[in-house]
């Protein structure tokens, strides 16, 4: 009986001692979870704590954010180490390059487009439509949208506008 009491006292004091000098994993997790809720950078992250080692998971916008989140957690009370499993999604692909029509189909489509503008001459080379001659303003405003929809590299307009 006496021995049991002694053992219990030892156990209780050990537990108290443990708690007072070293936060429990659950407490560390709770404080990190609180930080995650309060810190915009850490939004959506999850954390697991085992033996004072915090494992961070989730996604961050970029590498800087990832490092910053790990640094913030590392500085928190009771955290011995941080395993940074935050993933950073790859940046979106750059916009697709502009598609330029090949000269042959382009020249054919340009010929169709200027057919009803007898005062206009068009030359197509390396995707560039060069217009010469003269045109009325109204006709130009009809012709240009058509030509620019043919996926040319450029429309070099040297027309005299009457």
């Amino acid at each position: 009986m006496k021995l049991t009491n002694v053992l219990m006292a030892v156990a209780v004091s050990a537990t108290v001692g443990f708690v007072s000098c070293k936060p429990k994993d659950a407490d560390i997790k709770a404080s990190i979870d609180k930080a995650i809720q309060e810190n915009g950078d850490m939004k959506g992250l999850t954390v697991d704590v085992k033996d004072g080692v915090a494992t961070l998971s989730g996604t961050c916008g970029d590498e800087a954010c990832k490092a910053k989140c790990a640094g913030a957690v590392k500085g928190m009370k009771g955290v011995k180490d941080v395993i940074n499993n935050i993933s950073v999604p790859p940046p979106p692909p750059p916009p697709a390059p502009v598609v330029i029509a090949a000269d042959d189909p382009l020249a054919k489509a340009v010929a169709d487009a200027i057919k009803d503008h007898p005062t206009v001459t068009a030359d197509v080379k390396d995707g560039v439509i060069t217009l010469t001659g003269e045109i009325k303003k109204d006709a130009l405003k009809k012709l240009m949208p058509l030509l620019q929809s043919l996926k040319p590299k450029k429309v070099a307009n040297q027309l005299t506008v009457k």
Binding site: D112, A113, K137, L146, K153
Partner: protein, 140 residues
């Protein structure tokens, strides 16, 4: 991105006009603006702004490729040539033989828009072939 600045009023207007799939890219000193306009007037408005920024489209530093979103419900088109008849051809291209004609102002049936520039049409006389899309206006 000086070009993007030069044409900022245009790209802003495009965004405001609800141009879908709007893409603005600069490549080799030329700005390419692509997208689909909800209406023909939205497209015309952009071209008017283009003409204001770059009178007569003379600089050659912008390629504005805005299509008009044609509703799939369109089944009739009106021949809107200046005054002449519209040739209906066997295939898409002015090198194709003429298989029929539609009169100026005539309303004909739109069969297919699978080719952007040349629409497949059918007249009331049953002549079927390709006509130049620029001279066809959807009848709503």
């Amino acid at each position: 991105m000086a070009l993007a600045d030069k044409y900022k009023a245009l790209t802003d207007a495009a965004a405001a006009a609800g141009i879908s799939d709007l893409a603005v890219r600069e490549q080799d000193g030329i700005l390419y603006v692509d997208g689909t306009a909800p209406t023909a007037s939205a497209k015309d408005q952009l071209w008017n702004i283009y003409d204001q920024i770059d009178p007569n489209f003379a600089s050659g530093d912008l390629v504005l490729n805005v299509k008009t979103d044609l509703s799939a419900a369109v089944s009739k088109v009106k021949v809107t040539t200046e005054s002449s008849n519209l040739n209906i051809r066997k295939g898409p291209g002015t090198d194709q033989p003429i298989v029929g004609k539609a009169a100026h102002g005539e309303v004909i049936t739109l069969v297919s828009q699978s080719n952007e520039l040349w629409w497949m049409v059918r007249t009331d006389d049953g002549e079927e072939g390709y006509a130049y899309a620029q001279y066809l206006t959807p009848v709503v």
